[in-house]
């Protein structure tokens, strides 16, 4: 609970480890609302509906878009992803900081709507390491993989629109830096003014 809760956008190129970092943040008990994204993409092994994502049909997703229910939504590699606006507003209303995972394109959209949100770019230690991580994921075809690598290189160029960059060398250090950023933002004399 705090007087001036913030939306915190955690972004970065595909494969950088956003999901793993978020999972570790939960494990370590960082007190935040973790936004659950709605998606039309098939569930991967180990993912739980309503926890990792809301897995919805194309039809339901389209209804949500038309109802203006998303803070941002985008098609990524043929699947739809959307951040439910109401969920973010409700958590902020309860005095909770909200962490929103977004790809770089999504972060740019949110920047247009809420420029005063906190934007964190999760960066790979190197591009070579990022490519290796994408390869190891083995959920993509060769074509998808090379497209992802190309996109990741482009995404690295959007760094300048972010407030903070955290290099994901070692996950516990990454989580501790994100935690420090959230703590420091809570100590600002001039609070950010958030309108959603």
């Amino acid at each position: 609970m705090r007087d001036n809760p913030l939306p915190i956008i955690l972004s970065g190129p595909s494969g950088v480890g956003k999901d793993a970092v978020l999972a570790r943040m939960r494990e370590m008990g960082l007190r935040l609302h973790y936004t659950i994204t709605a998606t039309t993409r098939p569930r991967r092994e180990g993912e739980r509906d309503g926890v990792d994502y809301y897995f919805v049909s194309q039809k339901r997703f389209q209804e949500m878009v038309e109802g203006g229910e998303f803070l941002e939504w985008a098609n990524v590699y043929g699947n739809w992803y959307g951040v439910p606006k109401k969920q973010v507003q409700e958590a902020l209303g309860r005095g909770l900081d909200v962490i929103i995972k977004a790809d770089v394109q999504g972060a740019e959209t949110i920047k247009g709507i809420a420029p005063q949100a906190v934007f964190i770019f999760l960066a790979p230690p190197s591009m070579e390491e990022l490519e290796e991580r994408l390869r190891q994921r083995k959920t993509e075809s060769t074509e998808e993989l090379s497209e992802r690598i190309k996109t990741a290189r482009e995404e690295m160029e959007s760094l300048h629109m972010f407030d903070y960059v955290v290099v994901n060398h070692q996950i516990d250090q990454t989580v501790s830096q994100i935690d420090a950023i959230i703590t420091a933002e809570g100590c600002r004399v001039k609070p950010r003014v958030i309108k959603l």
Copy 2:
């Protein structure tokens, strides 16, 4: 060591606990250069020359002022205090963040010289608590005490020129928040540009 080391100004009203917080930061091993202030005031029990302060004569202090050796210097309750500029420049040159203790007036002077430094205001949990702490110090006469209380009230009004405010409820939490601010500042995408 970091690429973009910062001067961090720790300020706040007299009696708020700046010295105790700095001592705890050292104990906890926060890797910073702790600036040693030169002063003409008499050494208090337990204080060590060259560690807590450089205790210098009026004459030596005057020479340092005339030699332009201070980042800021001021007379506070009849004693002179000065922050040696060279010490700060050298530590920054070695890639170390530098923490500078300053009273509120001193912080304002440094703000004029280095507006991009990081300014942290250490605030008391309440004015009542601050007055109680000043009373317990027992190093001041009744007159000095009531002057300090009056000044402290005025100093609280300078909060708006600071970047961060940390309420000194509990010293370990205070140190951990200052540590978080320093970590977060190191993650900024657009580094502060420091000229001294």
